[in-house]
Structures are given as structure tokens and as C-alpha cells.
């Protein structure tokens, strides 16, 4: 094993070691011991990732096995790494955001009794996510896929005594399982048709499979590639919370805020985006799958953004914003602009982590208040939080020169240039979404940090439903103050790339950064056109100022200013006037109700019905106990014949002889 290969191993194993030490030895090493173990593990992993990043930039791509997990028939299932430019980008982003969140957690979870457990979980998450992105085959991808789902489940339910938390984590796991179900079918179809799960081997054969069809419904031959890609994408819809499997993500906000930032915004939920980019050699072969991706992404991008506008819980606003942004990334994938999707994934990881961690900073400052109606005017008490969140909001709204501008603008451009069916619809959705994005981002900023100070007035209301820890009922309300350095430092560290990460656009998108890691079919020429029109960061910004999306975003921000600063009385009036619309949005289009009634209720009713009717009545009642009764009944009859009286036996015998003789004589 070369030293580079040892370094590859170190990247996932260091956080795993941290997780094991913090988790199993948490009691022995205490709180500080646990956070040092986890942070050290993730730091090592981050530094190793950076070293590998430069090594890969020098052209050293690695694809090899670590160990053989299983052999069956002719197939070897391996655990192995594929280290290329796509992988290292994810490795650096994941370990960096994870490290920031680890540090932040020291402050955020300071008085939580589950401190060590929390560090064990987030370090374990980092391990799982790294195994996912570093995989060189579908099996390990699925391993990581399910493992991050497990940690997400554990972390959403971190405060396990709260009914809402344990409802949310079960829901998240089950909805994700629906996605995983599709994902596993896709993997199974690949194995059945390609005979291997190794990426490179599958990609090498894929072009020969373009015309292969499969008859899932007899008489209707479908393109194998389309079926495989749509199955795989269903997995991405679960993990990356795309409509209609998005329902779990808003509820996942029941988890502590650091994990909302790390798992439910920056990294895990982008696994689907990463996966589709990784599978570009397959998706490029199926126009149907790309159309499907475009439409799903478009719906998610616009309709989820709308819900963010009516939310009052600060974390839920950001959660719906995350859904919308994930929709943007998905749209980029559908438009064959994988590199743009990955680029937005990266910028979004930074600015969304800032928004979540900033929200967390506000939440602790207000003693676990999450309702924005009980905030306001916080900017003078929490200047660092305010400033960093403002940067996050500007980036989220896609205004130049912040990171989100470059990636979001590129997505719009790419969709605009795409000829894949569905691109027109998706373009409308993402364009309209830009306005809504500006609106909800600045609604949050204005609500929380500007305007009247509403936190003191609602002193009595706290400690109820929105209270995250449930142990601070005794606190009186003092003046909110800026959070400690362990909280603000990560905010600053993440705010910097939220500004600057976009400036790498020339390298990432047009400098051939991804190289052969992403494959684009020759007929999807949108990216090439965009490359021709690109003349540097400054010119892109200047061009942006004259383009529609910029004005849309600005209009959104201005609307927010008008509604929440200039005329704070207006929102209430609007709410009344547009009652039905608001109700639809507040009901989140009714998905939760429907799912609870139809799927959860339906499965329970069906299970109960099958049990009571099938097992208890038919099988046990009729067949089993019925047989026993019939045996008993026959036994009873037979018992009559065994009376023990000689005369009965003799009489029966005589009748028998008589009958037999009659039959015999007649026959003769």
C-alpha cells in the first residue's frame, strides 16, 4: 500500500475512530475528552482530504479495492475507493463543514446531557458520508447511503423524549426507505444486466446498452437505461428530499441545529445530487430520465420555496429554502449541467451552513426560541451573527458577488440552454423561484434582526412547544447577547467561502475541473455554449446586473423590505385577503395529512385487516381450529360406534354382511 493509499484510508477511519472513542468511552473520557476525540478525528480527515485534493489536482486519480466484502457466483463485491476530482471536492466540503459544525457544537450543546453521544453521532456521520462519496462501486454507495440515513435518524431523534422528535425521525427513515427501495432496484438491475457493481466497469459497458430494452410490463419495451436511471433517481429523491419524497426534511428540524446545518443542509441531503453527477455516464444515455429529473427538480425548486414564505419557525424557513435549493441542483442535473449542480452543491453547503448555524446562534441567545415573531431587532445585540447570516441570505438569494449568485445564475443559464423535454417548464420554475428566494431570505433577516424587539414582550410564552432542550424554564429573559467564540468562529469561517466560493467558477465550471469524472453526451451542448460566453468573474457579475434573475431576486428582497420593514402591518392584511392560498401553503399542500392518512393509516389498517381476517378468521379460525373441530366431531361420531355393547356390534355386523351379500348376488 502506498502512502497515498494509507491517506485515503485515514480520511474515513479518523472520524470513525473519533466516533467510537466518543461513543463507547464517552463516560470515561468525559465531555472534553469526547469533543477532542471527535474534533481531532475530523481535523485529521480534513487535512488529509486537502492533501489528497492537491494530489488529485496533480493528476493522481485512484481507483482500487480495499477489501473483498463478499463473493457470490462469479461476482466479487468489493469495498473500494474512487478518488477523482468529483470525490475530492466532496471530501473537502464534507470534512470542512463537518469540522466547523464540530467546533460550533461545543458551544451549542454545552449544557446538554447527551453531549458525548452527540459528538459520537456527528463523527459517525462524517465517516458514513465519506464512505459514500469515496465509493468506487454501487454496493459501497448503498452502504454509505443507508448509514447516513441511520445517523440522520439517530440525530433527528436525539431528544428522544420529545414526541415530535421521535415522530419526525421515524418518518424520515421510512420516507428515505421508499427512496432506497427504488435505489436498490436500480442497483439490482445494473447487477443483473452488467454483471458487476463496479463504477468503471459499468460505465465502460453503458454505451453498449443504449438500445437495450426491458419489458417490465409485458408488451411495453422500455429502455433499460431509462428504467435504471429513474430507479436510481428515486433514491436521490429520498435522500435529497425531492418532491414528493420531500416531506421528511422539514420535520427533521426537530434535531439539534448543528445537525440541521451539517446533515440536513450542507452534506447528507446533497448525496443524491452527488450520486446523479457520479452516474452521469448513465443518465446521459436516457433522455426520459433527464426529463423526469428536470420536472421533479423544477417542482421542488419553486413550490417548496413558496412554503418558506409563510413559515414563522426560523429553522423551518431555512429548511424549506434548502428544499428549494436542492431543487435547483436537481434541475441542473436534468439539464446535463452536472458540474453546475456540483458547484451549487458546494456554494450552498457553505451559505446554508451559515444560515443554520446563525439561526442556532439566535436560538441559544433567546433561550431556545425559534419563533421569528418573538425575535426582531437582534442585529445590535448580535452583530457577528447578523452579519454572517446576512451574507448567507445574500448568497441564498443569489445576489452578486456572493457565492450563490454564480452557481444559481449558471443553473438558470444551463436550463435555459437545455433542449431536454421539460427544460422549459423547469426554467419557469427556477426563474420564479428566484423571486421567492429573495423574498423568504430577506423576510428572515428582517423578521429576526430588524424592526421592533419582540422578544421581551413574549416572556411568558417560552418554554412551551418550541423549546429545544426543555430544561431552561427557569431562565428569566435577559438582554440577548452575542454567542461565544466557538459559535461565532465557525460562522465567520463559513461566511468567507459563502462570499468567495463563487469566484472559483472559472476553474470549476469552465476550466475543465471535473475532467473525465463527469460525462456529457455530445448532443447536450449547453455547457459548451456557456463556456464560450464566459469571460471571467467580473464580466459575469456585470452581465448579471442586466439579466432577469438578478432583478427577480432584487424584487424579492425589496418586497420583503416593503412588507416587513416599511409596512409591517401589511402581512396580516395579506394573510386575510389570500386566506385560501395561505392555508394551502401552511398545510404544505396537504402532503403530510395525506401521507399520514393514506400510507401510514392505510398500512396499519391493511395489516390489521389481513391479520384479523386472514390469519385469525380464515387460517386459524376456519382451517386450523376448524380441522380440530371436525376431527373432534368425527371422533364424537365414531365414539358412538364404540359403545362397548356386544349387541350393537353384532347388529352392525349382521347389517354389514347383509349389504355385502346383496351387492355380491346382484353383481353375480
Amino acid at each position: 500500500m502506498t502512502s497515498m493509499q494509507q491517506l485515503y484510508l485515514l480520511v474515513p477511519l479518523a472520524p470513525l475512530a473519533g466516533a467510537l472513542i466518543a461513543g463507547l468511552g464517552g463516560r470515561a473520557i468525559g465531555r472534553a475528552g469526547a469533543h477532542w476525540a471527535a474534533i481531532l478525528g475530523v481535523t485529521v480527515s480534513f487535512l488529509a482530504s486537502v492533501a489528497i485534493f492537491f494530489d488529485v489536482m496533480n493528476g493522481n486519480v485512484f481507483n482500487g479495492s480495499v477489501y473483498t466484502w463478499l463473493t457470490s457466483g462469479e461476482t466479487r463485491f468489493e469495498i473500494g475507493f474512487l478518488i477523482d476530482r468529483l470525490t475530492v471536492l466532496m471530501m473537502v466540503v464534507v470534512t470542512f463543514v463537518s469540522l466547523m459544525v464540530h467546533v460550533y457544537t461545543i458551544g451549542y450543546m454545552a449544557d446538554d446531557p447527551g453531549y458525548q453521544r452527540f459528538f459520537a453521532y456527528i463523527a459517525l456521520f462524517t465517516f458514513s458520508m465519506l464512505m459514500l462519496v469515496m465509493a468506487n462501486n454501487f454496493l459501497q454507495l448503498f452502504f454509505g447511503w443507508e448509514a447516513v440515513g441511520l445517523v440522520s435518524y439517530l440525530l433527528i431523534g436525539f431528544w428522544y423524549t420529545r414526541p415530535t422528535a421521535i415522530y419526525a425521525n421515524l418518518k424520515a427513515f421510512l420516507v428515505n426507505r421508499v427512496g432506497d427501495f427504488g435505489f436498490l432496484l436500480g442497483i439490482g438491475l445494473i447487477l443483473a444486466n452488467f454483471g458487476t457493481l463496479d463504477y468503471a466497469a459499468v460505465f465502460a459497458q453503458s454505451s453498449g446498452m443504449v438500445k437495450t430494452t426491458i419489458e417490465i410490463i409485458p408488451g411495453a419495451p422500455w429502455l433499460l437505461m431509462s428504467v435504471i436511471c429513474i430507479c436510481l433517481f428515486i433514491g436521490a429523491m429520498g435522500k435529497s428530499a425531492q418532491f414528493p419524497l420531500h416531506v421528511w426534511l422539514p420535520d427533521s428540524m426537530e434535531g439539534p441545529t448543528p445537525i440541521s446545518a451539517l446533515i440536513h443542509a450542507a452534506t447528507m441531503v446533497t448525496a443524491g445530487i452527488f450520486m446523479v453527477s457520479r452516474m452521469s455516464p448513465l443518465f446521459e444515455l436516457s433522455e426520459a430520465a433527464l426529463s423526469f429529473v428536470l420536472v421533479i427538480g423544477g417542482i421542488t425548486a419553486f413550490f417548496m420555496a413558496l412554503i418558506a414564505v409563510v413559515q414563522y419557525d426560523i429553522k423551518r424557513v431555512i429548511a424549506y429554502s434548502t428544499l428549494s435549493q436542492l431543487g435547483y441542483m436537481t434541475v441542473a442535473l436534468g439539464a446535463s449541467a452536472y458540474s453546475v449542480g456540483m458547484f451549487h452543491l458546494m456554494t450552498h453547503a457553505f451559505f446554508k451552513a451559515v444560515l443554520f448555524l446563525g439561526a442556532g446562534s439566535v436560538i441559544i441567545a433567546l433561550h431556545h426560541e425559534q419563533d421569528m415573531r418573538k425575535m426582531g431587532g437582534l442585529r445590535k445585540y448580535m452583530p457577528i451573527t447578523y452579519l454572517t447570516m446576512l451574507i448567507g441570505a445574500l448568497a441564498n438569494a443569489g445576489l452578486p458577488p456572493f457565492a450563490g449568485f454564480f452557481s444559481k445564475d449558471s443553473i438558470l443559464e444551463a436550463v435555459h440552454l437545455s433542449h431536454t423535454p421539460g427544460a422549459g417548464f423547469a426554467y419557469l420554475m427556477v426563474l420564479a423561484g428566484v423571486f421567492v428566494g429573495g423574498l423568504y431570505s430577506f423576510r428572515l433577516i428582517f423578521y429576526a434582526f430588524h424592526g421592533k424587539e419582540r422578544f421581551a414582550a413574549h416572556d411568558a410564552g417560552h418554554g412551551a412547544a418550541k423549546d429545544e432542550h426543555g430544561h431552561d424554564a427557569g431562565h428569566g429573559h435577559v438582554v440577548p447577547h452575542e454567542s461565544p467564540a466557538v459559535v461565532t468562529l465557525p460562522l465567520i469561517m463559513l461566511a468567507i467561502p459563502s462570499i468567495a466560493a463563487g469566484w472559483t467558477i472559472g476553474t470549476v465550471l469552465y476550466g475543465g475541473y471535473f475532467g473525465s469524472a463527469i460525462f456529457i453526451a455530445p448532443e447536450h451542448e449547453g455547457m459548451a455554449e456557456m463556456a464560450q460566453e464566459y469571460h471571467g468573474v467580473i464580466s459575469m457579475m456585470l452581465h448579471g446586473l442586466t439579466s432577469l434573475p438578478f432583478w427577480f431576486a432584487l424584487a424579492g428582497a425589496a418586497t420583503a423590505w416593503y412588507l416587513y420593514i416599511a409596512r409591517p402591518d401589511l402581512p396580516a392584511v395579506l394573510r386575510q385577503k389570500a386566506g385560501v392560498l395561505v392555508t394551502i401553503l401552511e398545510e404544505k399542500y396537504g402532503f403530510d395529512r395525506f401521507n399520514d392518512w393514506f400510507f401510514a393509516g392505510g398500512a396499519r389498517a391493511l395489516g390489521g385487516g389481513l391479520w384479523k381476517f386472514g390469519d385469525v378468521t380464515i387460517i386459524d379460525g376456519f382451517m386450523v381450529n376448524g380441522t380440530a373441530r371436525v376431527v373432534g366431531w368425527i371422533g364424537g361420531l365414531v365414539r358412538l360406534f364404540q359403545s362397548g355393547y356386544i349387541y350393537q356390534y353384532a347388529f352392525t355386523m349382521i347389517i354389514g354382511v347383509f349389504v355385502l351379500l346383496t351387492l355380491w348376488f346382484r353383481h353375480a
Binding site: Y67, T68, W69, L70, T71, S72, G73, E74, T75, F142, F143, E146, A147, L150, Y153, L154, G157, Y160, T161, P163, I166, Y167, L170, F173, L174, R177, V178, D180, F181, L184, L185, I187, G188, L189, L191, A192, I214, I216, A603, R604, L606, G607, G608, L610, W611, G614, D615, I619, D620, M623, V624
Partner: protein
Amino acid sequence: MTSAPWLSLSIWIPILFGLAVLVFSDRHAAQVRQISLIGAVLGLAVSLPLYSGFDTQTSAMQFVELSPWIPRFNIHYNLGVDGISVLFILLNSFITVLVVLAGWESIKQRVAQYMAAFLIMSGLLNGVFAALDAMLFYVFFEATLIPMYLVIGVWGGPNRVYAAVKFFLYTLLGSLLMLVAFLYLFDKSGGSFAILDWHKLPLAMTPQLLLFGAFFLAFAVKVPMWPVHTWLPDAHVEAPTGGSAVLAAILLKLGAYGFIRFSLPVLPDASHALSGYMITLSLIAVVYIGLVAIAQTDMKKLIAYSSIAHMGFVTLGFFIFNAYGVEGALVQMVSHGFVSAAMFLCVGVMYDRMHSRNIADYGGVVNTMPKFASLMMLFAMANCGLPATSGFVGEFMVIMGALKHSFWIGFLAATTLIWGAAYTLWLYKRVIFGAVANEHVAALKDIGAREFLVLALLALAVLGMGLYPVPLTEVMHASVNELLKHLAVSKL
């Protein structure tokens, strides 16, 4: 390595220890427990050479022992294992140790008889897996009923008599036709009870189909397959913890083992012809039983139904006739041995403290039993087939094999991802998570060292097999390949 008769030792050591402890009364319960543990550990120790000395390159029977038993009918005391049966002897000997430990404190009455029942059963079960003579197989197969019948009937719950009788009649009636089938094959083969001779015996289609039906009744009841499964939830509910663990971990495997030892190799043409029905019944087990499990209110019943659903994967894997399917089914059998035993032991841990199996009586157990809750989380995840646990390996392989066979079979099989997670994690949520539900939960004590040891050993097995299943599967390759080759050739 093969100098000692390891198979005989693994059968008779537990039985002899079981008989030995019977001389003690309850006044010497402590000694009984110690002697039983020694017996169980020795039983495990003598089965380890079967693995370490196993030649993975051959599909031939190994560790063969042959001596005449009833010469008049050409019946032999003939033992041997291949890459399929050896796994179950190891599994059984391992589970026996855990069961002895698990019954350490919770059994206070008739300790000697309880331990004896399990030790004797362990030896008999090893006998079933090692037997190469059909009559010897039959004797062991039927004999295992008696100790389990007693375990349920004596140490069971309030409705134990109904459950024990149902268990006994169901399985006994099923296996009677198997004896008829054996006699027919004995006659056809010119007077041989050697199972391997029967593998080579040419048979016409009609007798194959009839024999398949006879074997089906015997083995399907044991697995159990839908619709002959209803004895299992009752038996589990009434059985003491150890009884449930052995029932789920080992006894159910007898049925599946019967299919792979008799139905498939002796009757390949009938197996192919009827595979559609077998696959359908297996899928009903996965989907129907998975849904039924969701609706259960009794923890043991829920796990019993989950057990049936998981065994559906075993029969499904066998009857899709490819390497993924058959090996996946065997892996699933071993994994299910660990996971179902662990789940039942977990319920036992709670039952010992609360004397209730009712889900509604629980809630918030994690608050008072955090160590236990963590271990049970692992087993729950294994029960949902999460990767890196043993539960994933078999399900994954069978689903892969099924998709290779037909899309819709794979589709229905893969729905287990949803059902399994739904019933297992909903159970976990209601029992373990949440605020402390009542004063009984508030008074719970976390697991002690002995309980921890039992569950931790299972946890290691579950994780080890999930992370690195190769040591398990490399043992079975040669035998499975041989079986698949054999199945491809018609006997008509």
C-alpha cells in the same frame, strides 16, 4: 484435525450433559447452571474444529462417520457435513451457550429440567444437520419436537397448553408424510436410506411431484411458510425467552434445511415445475406478513411475524435457482439466527422486569436502560436489513438474485425495505423512545453483566457478519455451486 469424531461429539456432549443435570433438584440450581454452561461451551468447542478444519474447495461431505445402526433395514449411523450444514451446527452450538446464559436467573423452577431440555435439544438439532441417513435424520428431526414441546408447555405463559399442542400437532402432522416419502424413496433406490444416493436417483415427474408435496408439508410448516404459519406466533408468545430464541434461531431452519437437502436435489424437476408457487408463497410471506407485523400489539407476536417475513426470503432465495439467491438464502438463515434470537432475548430482558409483552405498557425505556437501548437499536437496525449488519447481506443477495430472475419478483421482495423498517422502528419508537411512560418503566434497572455479555456477543456476530461476510460465504461456495449444477440436470 479429522481424527476425532467431531460431529458425534457435537451431538452427544450436549445430550450427555443434559441427561447429567437431570439428577439434580432445584436445591442445587447453582450447580445445574454451571454444569449446563460447561456442557454448552464444550458443545461449542467441539464444533469449532468443523470450521477450522473445513476444506472449502470441495462439495463432498466432510467429517464423515459411518457405522451400521439397524442393518436389517440398511439404516446407518451416517454423519457428515458440507458447506451448507456445517454453518448451522456452529450457529446452533453458539446459540445454545447464549440460551443457557439467558435462562440463568429468569428460570427459578425446575432449573435442571429446563437446562436439560435445551442441551438435549441442541444435540438433537446438531444431529439433524449432520445426518446423512434419512432415518437418522427423521429420528433427530422428530425428536427435537419433544424438548421444545416441554419447554413451551412447562415454562411457557398462561396459554401455553394451547400453544404447545398446536405446535406439536402442526409439525408432527406435517412430518408424517415425510416418513412416507422416505419409505417410497427407500424402495425406489433399492433399499437405501442414504440421502446422497437419493440425490442421484432418477425419478419420473409424477412421483417427483407427489414427493415434493409430502416434503413440502413437512418443511413448509417448519419454516413456516404462509399459510401454515399460524402456529409460530402462538408458540413464540407462550414460550419462555430461551424457547423463543431457539425456536426462531434454529428450529425454523430445519424446514429450510429440509428444502435444500431433500426437495431441491432429490426432486429437481418438480422443484423447477413448482417454483412459481414457492416464489408466490415466499412473496406473500414478505408482503402480507410484513403488513400483519405492523398491526401487532404484542412485542413477541410482532417479532414472530417479522421472523416469518424474513424466512420468506430464505425460501424465495432457494427457488430462484441462482447463486445470489441460494447463497443469500443461506446467509439469511444464519443472520436470522442471530438477529431473531437477539430480538427475542431483548424482549426477554424487558419481560423479566415488567412481566408484560404488551407494547402499550412500555415507552421511554431508553431513559432508564440506555445500555440496553443501544444494543437493541443495533438489533432493530439489523432486523430492518441495514448495511453493515448481518441482516443486510442475505436480503441484499436474495433481492439481487430475484431481480436477475424477474423484475416484479425483485420488486415485491425489495418492499421489505419499507415493511421491515416500519414494523421494527415503530416498535422501537413505542417501546424504547419517548418520555418515561409509567412508574414501572421509571423503576427499570439497566442490563447487568450477564445480560450484557449475551447481547454483546450477538452484537459482535451481527456486526462482524455484516462488515465481512466472506468467512461465512467462502465455506458454502463449493456446495452451492454443486447444488446449482445438480439442479440444472433433469432426472426424468
